[in-house]
């Protein structure tokens, strides 16, 4: 299917206008703990080299979604396209949000921020979304990509994401339904800031 898209934006499946830029593969050192491969990178851990950043191929034209480290190191080269609103930035869950925020004068100068989740069980993505929306007042598109599955969508939405690139082997149509899993969640979060008892009148039920 040439027109097949797995990208959800708000409540619809749309064509992806952005080209994802990734770094060339580096030397991946397999770390082990108690004989088991370490699955999660530690927060703040540096995972790429200057060489990888320099060798990253960036498409000449169109909207580009570049890795945070590449953006930081090659900002000047991208200045014109950035000014034209053609540069979005993505980061991994172990990368520091402070680095992204510090890399631009105004976070809302970025039309798109994306967070890559290597494993769906990595709940750091939820706090990152929340902080971007509430602490740093980011208002443009916020996308989750990587190991993004329908059973996490409702949580992602509540944490401020409005765009989800569903993992390629899964159906985005099916995933759409999960955005409506719960009609009246208890706690205030990013999408609905009021807890339910400030939203609706809850009268004590007679015993």
């Amino acid at each position: 299917m040439p027109n097949h898209s797995n990208l959800i934006l708000n409540n619809a499946i749309v064509k992806d206008e952005w080209s994802l830029v990734t770094m060339p593969a580096g030397e991946e050192i397999v770390k082990k703990q108690a004989g088991k491969v370490v699955l999660f990178k530690l927060t703040g851990e540096a995972t790429h080299t200057a060489e990888q950043i320099a060798n990253t191929v960036i498409p000449e034209t169109g909207k580009i979604l570049v890795p945070l480290a590449v953006w930081q190191a090659r900002k000047e080269e991208l200045a014109v396209r950035y000014a034209a609103g053609e540069v979005g930035v993505w980061l991994d869950t172990h990368e520091l949000l402070e680095d992204l925020v510090g890399s631009v004068e105004d976070i809302n100068s970025l039309p798109l921020i994306a967070v890559h989740v290597e494993r769906f069980a990595d709940g750091r993505i939820f706090s990152i979304g929340n902080l971007l929306r509430t602490r740093y007042h980011y208002k443009n598109d916020l996308r989750a990509f990587g190991d993004v599955l329908r059973d996490q969508l409702f949580f992602l939405k509540r944490c401020g994401f409005n765009s989800y690139l569903i993992r390629a082997d899964r159906s985005a149509e099916d995933a759409l339904a999960s955005l409506q899993d719960f009609s009246q969640p208890y706690q205030g979060a990013v999408d609905e800031q009021l807890p339910v008892w400030r939203r609706v009148s809850r009268q004590p039920v007679s015993q």
Partner: protein, 558 residues
Amino acid sequence: MYKYDEVDQAIVDERVKQYRDQTRRFLAGELTDDEFRPLRLQNGLYIQRHAPMLRIAVPYGMLSSKQLRKLGDIAKRYDRSYGHFSTRQNLQLNWPKLEDVPDILAELATVEMHAIQTSGNCIRNITTDQFAGVAPDEVVDPRAVAEITRQWSTFHPEFALLPRKFKIAVSGTKHDRALIQAHDIGLEFYPDPDNKMAIRVWVGGGLGRTPILGSVVREHLEWQHVLTYCEAIIRVYNLHGRRDNAYKARIKILVKALGIEEFRRQVEAEWQYLKDNPNTITEAELARVSKYFTKMPYETLPEHDASFDSAIASNPAFATWVKRNTHPHQQPGYRAVTLSLKTHGQAPGDATSEQMHIVADLADEYSFGELRVAHEQNLILADVKLSDLFPLWERARTAGLATPNIGLLTDIICCPGGDFCSLANAKSIPIAEAIQRQFDNLDYLYDIGDIELNISGCMNACGHHHVGHIGILGVDKDGSEWYQVTLGGKQGNDASIGSVLGPSFAAEEMPGVIQKLIDVYIRERTPEERFIDTVRRIGIAPFKTHVYGEKKKELAHA
């Protein structure tokens, strides 16, 4: 107790629908094992040795008679007619079918129950004192805030996939009975000098592989801020807790690595942004939820009851039960009653469907239709009139629920262990049963007096062995089952973690080892000393000498 309105009911109903679809997709091969695992775990479903195990939430241990009857019916219909009450005040079914779980959840939803977040790396069931609301030493009834916190934590979007499980305990008594120092967050309620409800916040306690008692992260927190303050703590943990090693992923490891000062600094810095946000609890919301936890409609009764006094005088067995299994009450003329699930030779914490029905009937007849689950794995009728104790005792005794051993050596706290649990290194129930058989003489048990014995089948410590006066931990050595003994652990305000006695023992040695520990206590104790007091006074060395000295001799003779 709390009663669902349409908001609560919609959430559990929508959950049943969601989980039914997740199960369908798993069975249809649309979800891999790895993808389904966190989904089923967040719903309390483990894949165990023989069958899945389903853990049903009993929020802060409170149940209505109607709910208990339903649990009994579910155990009968979908399991083998019994259930296991756990140290987290929940109920576990050991033999349900994976494909039946959506139907079980639908049945639970009809009585305002669920299995949400009873497992998995999320905020778990909140636990508290089994005597909340009736204990004479209570300064604040913490249940309304516990319920508000339960609702806030249910499907909390930011904390759905934490580095590891997260347990919150609340307590509002002078003498802690909720193990608040052994939880990820412990909320200790007290009236502050202005007579307002305040909270001392403990953080970073936990048992498991690395037992650590919690530290106070904040001495005084106004109750309105409890949710936002928890948000700050858990956000710091969610972002910075280790995810690379499951054994180092609990918040206690982060607190220890940073030090409590630095951890506190980070939490306070985060909280400055969260304080006073809409999750700040209002007077109106507290008042709404508190209406469900008002005092029962007690009768005005004298301190004494003639029929009760004469039954005590004429019936020594009843008198013994009253002494061990009933507890003082705030209201004159009332007692709280512990129905023992520690019948000698039975798996601690197990109750049959029939027993659940009987307890439900007793609750209706004698205790306003409510009951509680104790973290010591017994059932509590919290509000019984003195004049009702004798008929209650007779009926409980017939049902095998009146073993007068509460707080004694055979009131063993015990996880399901290797008979059921796939995490366990060793069996725990047969050890409990063997000890109960060794100490079957009640007079001797009374002579030994107050003592807590806890058994865990592995270092996950579901049996809380670190805080048992005597703790037993199942360990695996070259594929066979061995048992390590710790001494001097204690729950409560002066909580402590037990010290390892020495090399581990084979299963058949365990009753003899416990006997030797008791012998040393009997020999060394002063008249007013409990077992734990003697251990604290003389240290573990004399116990060690008696246990291992003679063991070596026996070996030499063999």
